[in-house]
């Protein structure tokens, strides 16, 4: 075990070490936690470990490691069995979005973890209120939703199921702050959580305006990149409205809300894009088209940008007091 690193409690179990699980594992190792990574599928330990090492290298790139990489690997075990979860205070499930598979996995997790450990899911698709019924005491079950890469942003969504208790929320909220996150709490389970709902509301309006032939996708991108994109890292929508003054927003929204799209399904424009097999930069077809070289360049640029924005955002943190969250 390392003498250089400051080791944090609790020991954390990660079940499922695909792309997201390995990214979360690296993020927690970088924060100084001992991590018990479980690869539920036979033969997945080695590729899983490779992925975690790759993600740790990216953490190194982001200047997130205070010691050589091998010191962090000393905090990690990867296994096929669930028994290493025996000393975990928190276990996070990161497997495929399949409710039956999740049920099987949670049975095993419950069997091997202490009765007071917090159990969590990184799901972005299945309601926490449903998942928490899979364990005997659902009050200690919660949703924890990271962005990808898990270490690359301050984003972390905490989702309360119907039966999640305050103590569980407070514990995860305070733990997240110790990881350098600025957590958001969704007090009641709702589809899409907070961030997806906000942005899908914008996507719906973009597609509506494109449908009406009012704008093209590039106009929409220019608009939100140069406007919202030039303040949103510093201010959320409410702070921005406070900054601009609410009077004009009051008049404008009153006039505009009745004209906004209420489309309930996929717009014909989006359906057309989906029918083209839109993999985005993966296959060159999406809202835009890409040659292979262009796709590569966009990806490389985005990776470089991620680092730039990470360091810029670090200069503008929010001071969040460690307090009781749900009761506030």
């Amino acid at each position: 075990m390392s003498d250089i690193l400051r080791i944090r409690n609790p020991v954390i179990g990660i079940v499922g070490i695909g792309l997201m699980g390995s990214s979360i594992t690296a993020s927690l190792l970088a924060a100084g936690h001992r991590v018990k990574a479980i690869a539920p599928l036979p033969g997945e330990e080695e590729p899983g470990l490779d992925r975690i090492i790759r993600q740790l290298r990216l953490c190194e790139d982001f200047d997130l490691l205070n010691a050589p990489l091998k010191e962090y690997l000393g905090l990690l075990t990867v296994s096929n069995d669930y028994y290493p979860l025996g000393d975990c205070g928190l276990v996070v499930e990161c497997i495929v979005e399949d409710i039956e598979i999740k049920e099987t996995i949670f049975k095993k997790i419950v069997e091997f973890t202490p009765a007071n450990a917090i159990l969590a899911s990184n799901t972005s698709a299945i309601p926490i209120s449903i998942l928490q019924q899979m364990i005997p005491d659902p009050q200690r079950f919660i949703g924890i939703h990271w962005a990808e890469p898990a270490f690359g942003t301050r984003f972390l969504e905490i989702i309360c199921g119907r039966e999640t208790n305050e103590q569980t929320v407070d514990s995860i909220f305070n733990l997240a702050i110790s990881w350098g996150k600025e957590p958001t709490v969704l007090k009641k389970d709702i589809r899409g959580f907070i961030t997806n709902r906000l942005m899908y509301a914008v996507y719906r309006e973009i597609l509506h305006l494109v449908e009406k032939n009012v704008i093209g996708f590039e106009d929409a991108d220019k608009c939100f990149r140069y406007d919202a994109g030039s303040w949103m890292t510093l201010m959320g929508i409410f702070r921005r409205m406070d900054y601009d003054g609410l009077d004009d927003y009051n008049t404008a929204f009153r006039n505009i809300f009745p004209h906004l799209s209420n489309e309930e399904g996929i717009s014909p424009q989006m359906q057309k894009i989906m029918d083209s097999g839109a993999g985005g930069i993966q296959n060159g077809r999406g809202f835009y088209t890409y040659t292979q070289r262009e796709a590569e360049r966009w990806l490389q640029s985005f990776e470089a940008f991620n680092k730039d924005i990470f360091h810029l955002a670090a200069n503008y943190p929010e001071e969040i007091p460690i307090t009781s969250k749900v009761t506030s």
Binding site: E294, E318, S328
Partner: protein, 324 residues
Amino acid sequence: MEPTHRKKILISGKGRTTAGIAVNCLRSQQASIYYLSDDRAEDEDMIRKIIADSEWRSGEKMEVSKLKFISSETWINGIDIAVCITEEDPGIKQHRLLQIENRVAPETIIGVNTESVLLHDLQKKLKNPGRVIGLNWRDPAYTSAFLEIITNELTPRSVLQYMEATARNCWYKDPYVVSCGYSIRARLLAALAREAFYLVEHGYASIEDIDRACRNDAGYYLPFAGNCRYMDLMGTYAYGLVMKDLNRELSKSEALPAFFEELVRNGKTGMSAGEGFYKYEKGEYREWEEKFRKFSFDIQSIIDKYPFGYVKEEPAEVNQSNDE
């Protein structure tokens, strides 16, 4: 009319946004700016502070002598573009446009900010309605490539071409044009706000949680290339699948939430009033202005590093959107 740096620009308005536009126009060294202000002392002071701060941060020098304050009675010969900024009130906008129309030559283009007032309504009482267009800026204008040009069927092609060229060549903008006569920025922000209101009103999240979600998720990718490009980077198809289930559950509200209306009714209209969605201590508004001014330079330096389509490096490989 040929776009040239030797322009005469009339700027009419007051406050921080208008002052920022004046500074933005001053960056074009050969322009002459005529500032028609309701509060000359305050605006002059603000402009001087912005210029000093801007020169210090960017090293860019501006000729303050090119900026002249004028009274509402002055007739200025040869104004190329009149920029008009007012609050979101159709009556005030119309009144101001009539006032400007009477002081400039018939060929002067008049650009007015509008979030929700239709361009058509603003053109109504004017002698030469085609020369009035919508012109929306991002505050502060001098660090941003944002400019929304709003036109309609009355707008002559020459007016649009002139504005686009001026925006690109003299104002450091990468403008987009909407020819439907209303702002799409306002629509997209309204869509975002409507959903944020819904989540707060129904007890799903707090104001603080919504803002954190904005800052720490979208705030980390929007400055790269906007929404649609981001979906392409992440895998477009999956977004369509989510829309299928999620869209029907998003807010459809046509009305403003009671908690927002109450704030406005009680004069809690934001930072300048000391309270809006949040409460502000004395001096906090100025601190936010300072912080945002510094941040604006920082974020613009990143945005400048990643141009759309990489046209600068590879003219042969300009991306095309599907809808074109």
